[in-house]
Amino acid sequence: MPHLAIDNLNADYGATPILRDVDLSVERGEIVAIIGPSGSGKSTLLRVLTGLLKPRSGRVEIAGEVVNYTSAAALRKVRDRFAIVFQQYNLFQNMTALRNVTIAPTIVKKRNAAEVEREARALLEKVGLSHRIDAYPDEMSGGQQQRVAIARALALKPEILLLDEVTSALDPELVAEVLDTIRTLASEGMTMLIVSHEMAFVREVATKVVFMADGRIVEVGPPAQIFDAPQTERCAEFVRRILRH
């Protein structure tokens, strides 16, 4: 049984259709990379999965359970299983790095504060930020904010981690760090959907690459297929373009 099954998903912003007939199946522990031109709906797909945008039609199943996005109670259960790192990080501007990481586990999950803080410090150290734990988001660089956002998501201990362009603002050493973290998590059975155009990164970690264009999934395959032998003209052209950069 797939860990995450997306079936014929459609979603709109107002009257504009954004996601069209999206089908995707993800096994437990898989790392799925999502690539595609700007505006193709990658972020929107992640928003729909976490219930921030209601789908118009279609079905999402987690471990065989159909997700009901219209019920508040069901939505709470789903959100417990997902954690998302937003493209714009979306850190709480009024909180330090440490507080950003500890707030949800303490306030929402009502876990022991001391234990949560210990874990949070460890996570922030893992992403190379132990010296910045008391900094506010507007005092940190983009890459630093992004790493806080990653630590914040991991502190929630999600089953499925959604990462939106997480490597774009990181320098090469940190990409290696984050990559390591991601691989470890995957080996522990965490499932991941990662929007990333970092070719080396995707080749290295992804078990499957999804190419999206105009709100549709155009091609799905292992990294070798997508990057070296794409089956569709759309995908081939996109890959050629990003490889040139």
Partner: protein, 228 residues
């Protein structure tokens, strides 16, 4: 001039000073109680109007209607409406209560707008992050959005409050003992208008100027910490 000084001796009698002091106190009470209650009501209305907190649309429409209505009624007219509403309801209340209710109603509508503007100044991605972590609307408001909104909410609220102190003078129209009413009464008793109104002018200034200073210092303190 000499006559004025001679009159001042009689004007600032023990009895008149007590009377003015009481009036001053009532002006302060009327302003602060009205503003305080009004602000709390207004904040509630702003929260009710916020689609990320309240999903029940009729509640949002009610808040919208309330705010738009009460913001547009002149203070004096509202005072009369409240006065007659209490009479119609057969409630035996003091004129002070009528005036305080009017101030609170008026302040609630304006505060609601100030608070709404503050909440809307916060980027929606803050709500998104909170929501994705399963924080409820009110928790997100209290922990994330409101702490960032104060710097937008407070300056106009302070300015408005100072304006309201001045507007309470209208309560003299229904015979509430506050500064303006006291001046009118003393004037009718034969004291010169220069002394009566000159005195309350100084008292209004003594009340409003520190408030203005406080507002300015608060604004300065809020400004550098842009987001906190």
């Amino acid at each position: 001039m000499a006559a004025l000084i001679e009159e001042a001796g009689r004007f600032y009698s023990y009895y008149n000073l007590i009377y003015l002091g009481k009036a001053f106190l009532f002006t302060i009470l009327l302003s602060f109680a009205g503003c305080g209650i009004g602000f709390v009501l207004g904040a509630g209305l702003a929260v009710m109007r916020h689609p990320r907190i309240v999903s029940f649309a009729p509640l949002r429409w009610f808040a919208l209607l309330y705010v738009e209505l009460f913001r547009r009624i002149p203070f004096l007219v509202l005072l009369m409406v409240v006065f007659f509403a209490f009479q119609l309801a057969g409630a035996d209340v003091t004129m002070f209560t009528v005036a305080a209710t009017t101030v609170a109603l008026s302040a609630s509508a304006f505060s609601a707008e100030n608070v709404r503007a503050g909440l809307e100044s916060i980027h929606p991605n803050q709500w998104d992050a909170a929501e994705a972590m399963n924080m409820g609307g009110l928790t997100a408001l209290r922990r994330v959005v409101l702490p960032q909104s104060w710097r937008v909410i407070i300056p106009p609220s302070m300015t408005y409050s100072v304006g309201l102190v001045k507007a309470t003078s209208i309560a003299s129209q229904i015979g509430v003992l506050e500064l303006t009413y006291a001046a009118k009464i003393l004037n009718q008793k034969g004291f010169s208008a220069a002394l009566c109104f000159g005195t309350i002018l100084v008292l209004y200034f003594c009340l409003c100027y520190p408030l203005n200073l406080f507002a300015t210092s608060l604004e300065k303190r809020l400004a550098p910490s842009r987001n906190r």
